[in-house]
Amino acid sequence: MNNSQTMQAPDTAPEVNFAYLDERTKRMIRRSILKAVAIPGYQVPFGSREMPLPYGWGTGGIQVTASVIGPTDTLKVIDQGSDDTVNAVNIRRFFERTAGVQTTTRTNEATLIQTRHRIPEKPLVEGQIIVFQVPVPEPMQRLEPRETETRTLHGLAEYGLMHVKLYEDIARFGHIATTYDYPVLVNHRYIMSPSPNPKFDNPKMHMNLALQLFGAGREKRIYAVPPYTAVESLAFEDHPFEIQKWNTVCAQCGSTESFLDEIITDDAGGRMHVCSDSDYCQERQDLV
């Protein structure tokens, strides 16, 4: 709204620029994204802005989305796999108000998907962009909180700290006790946080056809996995990576392959399992 390059948002919020951010800020963010794409898995610092939504609620993802979205895009926003959780609704409304773009709940209709904690079950295709909201971009932060140190470790590809942590899990529990935000090695070079997705989703990142962008607003970092890039979940030869399995099926669509949420149905221990990906589940129900 402050310079000559402004574009007007089409409908409800004419007082703000298209997708809220001013064009110079978008350009700054796009440059960071380009650098991130050029160095897969590397965390690029960027001048994260104070958004009208709280830090920790998706400001990084929102800034990335705002910088890459165009008037012809179709946007899907999910949180925990669902389009209908309040935070997903809120972010979708934000872009409806500020960018007036088309929104959808259908994974295959979306050109741009912003997500928190899940990757859709339906495989993504070329041309799609998926934007992850990232709370803690530094995978080693809980092992070494000083950024000056972790930066050096990444520079030297010195990842012993992380391997020792995983080894200690095995020594103590007999298996790796990390179930979400499970660290990955990107393009055989950088260890990266996949964001707090369940490890169930990690294999989907490997050689994905879509562009995967990661925005951490509070920590002011952007990173990326370009299409067709190797993403390997850390493991040991004798303790290979495994994903979660359920010995039940989705109570609504009968899927045996999706990530299931457990829902408590009464106060006597009754529970049922349903797909976390609401669009996937609905589509399967519609087919029947």
Binding site: N2, L21, R116, P135, F173, Y180, K199, R218, F259, S276
Partner: protein
Amino acid sequence: MYVAVKGGEAAILNSYKLLEAQRRGDPSLPELTVDQIRQQLKLSVDRVMTEGSVYDPELAALAIKQASGDLIEAIFLLRAYRATLPRLGNTCAIDTSSMQLMRRISATFKDLPGGQVLGPTYDYTQRLLDFTLLANAQEGNSHPPQPSEKPSASLEHESFPRVIDLLNQENLIETFECPLDDPLPKDLTREPLRFPADRATRLQNIARGDEGFLLAMAYSTQRGYSHSHPFVGEVRLGEVAIEIEPEELGFAISIGDIEITECEMVNQFAGSKTEPPKFTRGYGLAFGHSERKAMAMSLVDRALRAEELGETIESPAQMQEFVLSHSDSLEASGFVQHLKLPHYVDFQSELELVRKMRANQHHSDASDSLDNKSQGPS
């Protein structure tokens, strides 16, 4: 029976209405005006301006009203507004020795040029609830003091040399040369914070930092976590001119006055092999009347200079990454409160893991009663 989690949008819209009703309170009472907040809740307005990084009492008062008096929420509103404002230019460095003083105290000298001026302060009020305020408010007839009763707060004086400058005459205190060309400091609202951060960047960070956090960090330095023998060189409150120097003009012009609180903390330094013992400094500056903030800031600033002064870094207040990464109320409040967001998926993953670990433990207990650790993952 399972009810699909839908209707998020309707819930949000209803929540807006409930929030509005809560903010307004009893509609039979007159609504608070932004001007009333600005005039009568000045110290709240000052804090919101300081941590919101915008000097605009009217917008700060509006933010306080909109946030139902939640100052951190008000700071958030002001910051989000500020984020999209254009940068029209840079002001010249302010000169606090020529400020219009309303209050100025020094704990290091009994008297000094310009004198000690108590000014408005809660310091020597005896903290007894004043029930006349309650009665007056109920009658709605509070009497403003007549002009003749009102003591003149501002002091007519040419300039008030700073205590630091007085100490400097004896070379007893460290001084700083203005670097060549006076480079602009990094703008933390435009560029990310990187470590190690220079002092200008650190000061910028803690100037925006949460008062409560800085107060606690400052307090910790007084309780043995990096003691720095502090004395209040001076605390001053007053108005200072803001000047800009437009390129086409070639000289500075005043664009208005702002009220600020400045604190210079004087700290002992034992000296080193290369330097004789002298006093070192910690600096604090805040918009409006914000003494607690300015003093806490100056103690934290001094503690953060540990590396530069060759002190051992062993306490949280001396650790740049610890202090600067956690000082911002928006970042802290957002991330702590994001735990309210759904975490079904992560929790499901943890549930599955805990059940698996318990099953394993049960199994191994049954077989050989090994002493298995039951501690969960970090």
